[in-house]
Symmetry: D2
Amino acid sequence: MIPRYARPEMTAIWSPETKFRIWYEIEAHACDAQADLGVIPRENAEAVWKAQHVEFDVARIDEIEAVTKHDVIAFLTHLAEHIGSEEARFVHQGMTSSDVLDTTLNVQLVRAADILLADMDKLLAALKKRAMEHKDTVRIGRSHGIHAEPTTMGLTFARFYAEMDRNKTRLEAAREEVATGAISGAIGTFANIDPAVEEHVCAKMGLRPEPISTQVIPRDRHAMFFATLGVIASSIENIAIEIRHMQRTEVLEAEEFFSPGQKGSSAMPHKRNPVLTENLTGLARLVRMAVIPAMENVALWHERDISHSSVERGIAPDATITLDFALNRLAGVVEKLVIYPENMLANMNRFKGLVMSQRVLLALTQAGVSREDAYRLVQRNAMKVWEHGKDFREELLADPEVTAALSPAEIEEKFDLGYHTKHVDTIFARVFGEAA
Amino acid sequence: MIPRYARPEMTAIWSPETKFRIWYEIEAHACDAQADLGVIPRENAEAVWKAQHVEFDVARIDEIEAVTKHDVIAFLTHLAEHIGSEEARFVHQGMTSSDVLDTTLNVQLVRAADILLADMDKLLAALKKRAMEHKDTVRIGRSHGIHAEPTTMGLTFARFYAEMDRNKTRLEAAREEVATGAISGAIGTFANIDPAVEEHVCAKMGLRPEPISTQVIPRDRHAMFFATLGVIASSIENIAIEIRHMQRTEVLEAEEFFSPGQKGSSAMPHKRNPVLTENLTGLARLVRMAVIPAMENVALWHERDISHSSVERGIAPDATITLDFALNRLAGVVEKLVIYPENMLANMNRFKGLVMSQRVLLALTQAGVSREDAYRLVQRNAMKVWEHGKDFREELLADPEVTAALSPAEIEEKFDLGYHTKHVDTIFARVFGEAA
Amino acid sequence: MIPRYARPEMTAIWSPETKFRIWYEIEAHACDAQADLGVIPRENAEAVWKAQHVEFDVARIDEIEAVTKHDVIAFLTHLAEHIGSEEARFVHQGMTSSDVLDTTLNVQLVRAADILLADMDKLLAALKKRAMEHKDTVRIGRSHGIHAEPTTMGLTFARFYAEMDRNKTRLEAAREEVATGAISGAIGTFANIDPAVEEHVCAKMGLRPEPISTQVIPRDRHAMFFATLGVIASSIENIAIEIRHMQRTEVLEAEEFFSPGQKGSSAMPHKRNPVLTENLTGLARLVRMAVIPAMENVALWHERDISHSSVERGIAPDATITLDFALNRLAGVVEKLVIYPENMLANMNRFKGLVMSQRVLLALTQAGVSREDAYRLVQRNAMKVWEHGKDFREELLADPEVTAALSPAEIEEKFDLGYHTKHVDTIFARVFGEAA
Amino acid sequence: MIPRYARPEMTAIWSPETKFRIWYEIEAHACDAQADLGVIPRENAEAVWKAQHVEFDVARIDEIEAVTKHDVIAFLTHLAEHIGSEEARFVHQGMTSSDVLDTTLNVQLVRAADILLADMDKLLAALKKRAMEHKDTVRIGRSHGIHAEPTTMGLTFARFYAEMDRNKTRLEAAREEVATGAISGAIGTFANIDPAVEEHVCAKMGLRPEPISTQVIPRDRHAMFFATLGVIASSIENIAIEIRHMQRTEVLEAEEFFSPGQKGSSAMPHKRNPVLTENLTGLARLVRMAVIPAMENVALWHERDISHSSVERGIAPDATITLDFALNRLAGVVEKLVIYPENMLANMNRFKGLVMSQRVLLALTQAGVSREDAYRLVQRNAMKVWEHGKDFREELLADPEVTAALSPAEIEEKFDLGYHTKHVDTIFARVFGEAA
């Protein structure tokens, strides 16, 4: 966890205090269920709730763990210090450490997913707002970084909206993947604990029982979870790259908002760098690097060893905290992005009329010119624009082979921008629904 | 693609012949739609279908591409050689190369997914069959590679079944992710082609129209697809590791089927190595290595460059072919796995009765002994078994502190195996449904 | 291996024919050494060389392997078909399959490294040539994609030269890593074969004996090898990104060479896309994806299982073939890159004089203005250029707070380009040696 | 950074205090060099050293950065608060932020490498000690997890020693890779700062000048550094896997040291789990996950953007801290590993005499039996041992086809363990030098 790329709400999920609190709730709910089953005395179950308002002493638990070298035992020992060792003697009965650890991890991941889903809503709202605002702001579409044909800035935002909306759906699925708990005892056979305990604890903690857990909750679920975070991060990088391109000096179609006190460079005061989106490019890599270790974690020895644990101590907080920060940063960047429509037009017209070449090509073909000939005619005139700064329309009007096929009015019509934006409404309706 | 790890049906999807066939179909269906719209003459659309039974000449297309340095143009030129350049002049009208390339890739990925889904059915059937067969075959459950408590071999298979069943659901979702096509023209604005063409072509090719494509189909879809393959591969590794462990000399609870002519080692004729599952361990890595490049492919410049293309030429065939092979190999290994129930029992009893220690611990606690004392008592006797080969039951019966809390009959009862298998039916019902 | 991204010389290293040839040579040299030791009869050793000019029949060996399910045994059986089973009976004596397989892999990797080293020489030569040619071609240096201060195109090439030169040194080290062979028999104890055999075979095959091989050659060597290829690939991506940026429409400081017959786009005939460097961006990912599997291969069970084998069947040919292709493609791109010095100047002057702001800032500071004030003065005038298209020099000359600190001549002097290029020679000498 | 997997000395390198201290030293040394050159007044350079014993106030710097949004400017502002803004006005003159940031990162990486090198010495010492101690402790060598032929425990340790020794050499090379500094000013042209400043600062900070830095120090160096850490981590995993295998219940040839107070399981008091080496398996993945992001960092836009920075804020501390912890943990595990030679013998003799099959095979071949026949004879008798628990030697002595070729004495001789260990000295001399 890198403090400067962390937000408090997400960070809190991964604090020792939160972890011990969840451990406690799992143990207490399990005692209730055991009492319901008549396995342990009701008063012992009730005694556990005496600690409900206790803030567990992390330092003390660490101290005990230093001796026992076992974290769950250390916690249970500390819990007994609060509720009395006599009263505590049925706590954890029939359970194994993994029951507590794995169920807790999933509670944390579900909570983290909920924050991330809210983040995505914020980002989606910003993308939609900017899409609507710039629905008709014409800019040149580029492929390979090369001018192609006109499009609108709104379509760019809509495109990112659709991608992030897919990511939200994926994240909802990923959340469901990890929304399971297991209280199945050593080896997961329920030999020492009734399945009813698992059902009760899971219901209380907002989870579904894991159908078959063989002690640990299977890690294919977590692999899928982190893989999904990796895809979302890659989409963040995708948007970040677009903004970085728009801000580069020669393009300058947009800029990250630059607050009054901010200094772009210690050396060059005129510089306004796209540092937030460059930062997001890097953060995307940090999230993505969790994916392969999460997949390596799937293969456990005889389905249950502890090699995954240290990995998850790293990637679970790091990937969720970083992604939470990145989604929020990106939402802010999009929300406040300064857009320069006039520069968009200037860029589009840099090579006068050239971006209309495909329309002319098609018109020639439809006028009966062979595809090969049409291509040659268009390329011949295009090269004059490209290399000698000529105006494409004028060159076409002056090319007798072209005018033999197309009338001046037909040529003029090919330079109408409305031609290129006529389906923007159709696409917006696809992305945002008919009401858009 | 590694020939020895490739099956013909999947390999065929990725042949140049298949690719050109799909290109052809897309172009031909697009012409039909254009004719329906009155954009091109009906007879030109019909002319394209003259080539329906042509096997395109890959070498000839390569030859043309060597000059044009553009694959789609090379194909169209070759197509014109078949149907006449006059008749062919409306082919591809209003389209851009990506319309053909990206839609084709998704057709291929959908077909590949269908094969993989069938593979998974085969694997699931094998896992279920072996689960049922060994539902009550007792073996020792292990955690950290250390004996823990009894379980059954059927639960191990059921566990893998549940994991692979989840993977099938994930693969179905991944298939839907890439089941989109785009015929939206340069920059994806539909400026030069009506959305109706896209709808027609997609319907014919078994795809949904991509809501907003901005020329290329967005690569977050493919990132999710390959990430899902990576998770499946990791589950294959998980099963492979279990089998490799079972086959190691000291464990020998199962062996890969060893056919009569097979030689295990050039040097040691008695050796029977788990080479198939070792191979699967490696194949899992090969599939998984596609995940990060697929994620790196998401961020394109201005949403459309061609950097992803070379990556996909590698990973799309390689990951699907390897996974198809691996799933089939694994299904075969599971189907024919030789299982040694007697060795399972022998292993379980290696430290006489020790695996029942947790039951004794619980019984002592329930009989009023404090958890700390009970732990001490159990550990004291357990150590005699572990270190001196004693019999755990006999030691307990001879320990006055133990017998002060538990009667001989109560101690005996703790060594009943049925105690550990009593919930196998419950778990099987969770995994395979009540009918199981 | 993707045929379109493969060159014959490198591909040949990985053919079955080459592999069997190396197997043969290892076995034959081992027999010689065994005969020298008196372990096997000299005539049997000599008999093996009867097959020296045989081209082994791959299909026949595959046929035998289909029965034996063991590749080395299949080969030995086939070899016996050539030299007689009586004569062949001492071949492979005391050896284990890994002796042949691992030593062969390393022979192949060393040969691959030699080709890659020659590729790098070609690339280095191209980079040096272009560096010299454009040593004094002024262009704007950019950071964050934003104009900063002047530099020269030659420095860009020199920078890439230095990086690739480091990569060459790394590749030489990586080649040494894998230039070992092992003929140490089962488990690597030399129980059945004298270390002298290993020494003889290694010497003949251009390798050093692996000091301790425990059957397999340890895979940390290969992990390091592939990691090095990943670094080189990343440097290729670095150069490719620079060229793609230079070619984007608004920048247009350079273009990939565009041959007469080439078509940039099926739709827009004027387009010239940086397809080679986009392709290289993707190829870099393909090479890099070998790194993690190669590292996962290091941990073998009891130091020797076969899980790494399937991985290496994929990554060894794929990564070396792809990198070989990429280095050659990049050398060609650099060699023929079309550079537009006039566009470089035009871009640099896009915001008139602004790129000199740091010099003015320094001058103000040295003239006694506080850093904070100097910063404010420069930024104030810079903003007029940035936002209103003013000329930076003129604005400074008209700003009384500035002229209070600097005379007009002092201001004028700050706009001298020679100031920025004065250390180009120093840097070239560092990179290319004093003679440069 | 995961606190439980972090050691103070390494963690301290990455504290804000250390970072600001290095920034300070770089700025102060740069002022000295500037004064030597006569660029700035000597007294201003000397004034900077007034802050030599200041502990910079991290909270205050953060506070300033919250306004300026630029970390280096924030630091310089704070520095001026200590030495006076008048005196401070020449600090950082001619430099750019990257000069400070990149040089600092490399100072930190070099210091981290020095700690890691010391860690490796500790680990190497432990491996060597255990190798010497168990040089002649016979155990069965395994391949594929299957018994093969005898070897010694000392060879296993020697094997790991050799691998870690290579890693040390690699780490030394990686340290050299990043032991460069750059004080080359904006865009790296030295336009505003003389190369002599760079030389002076680098000499003082223990670095070499980066030959050509174009503002940032090229990231291929860091990619190589982290790739090397990834290889070392993979070797740690390799050793960890071996120990985990040795500790599994059925094998039990070694155990991690189990301190008196330690509890293996909350449920099963007899359990002693290889938790340290399982933990190391996971830590290896955490270190390895830095490799790909470090390689993705190489390609910067126009050779200098800031996308790498957030990545390095994560991976630089995390990978070095985790690896430092892991190397120390592993050294401790090796040092204290409890080894059970008697279990090694028992395991080896589990299938009576079978591990000698290869010797018999060879003897039969040398006695004139064809390889195919010898193989059949050995396999026939081996199967009786494998399947029916027979004694291999007795079966051979009773097989007339065998005794037709080999005398009883010759058969007996094949079961001599000394045969397998006769080259242990040779191998030790290769690994540890002749003196070993």
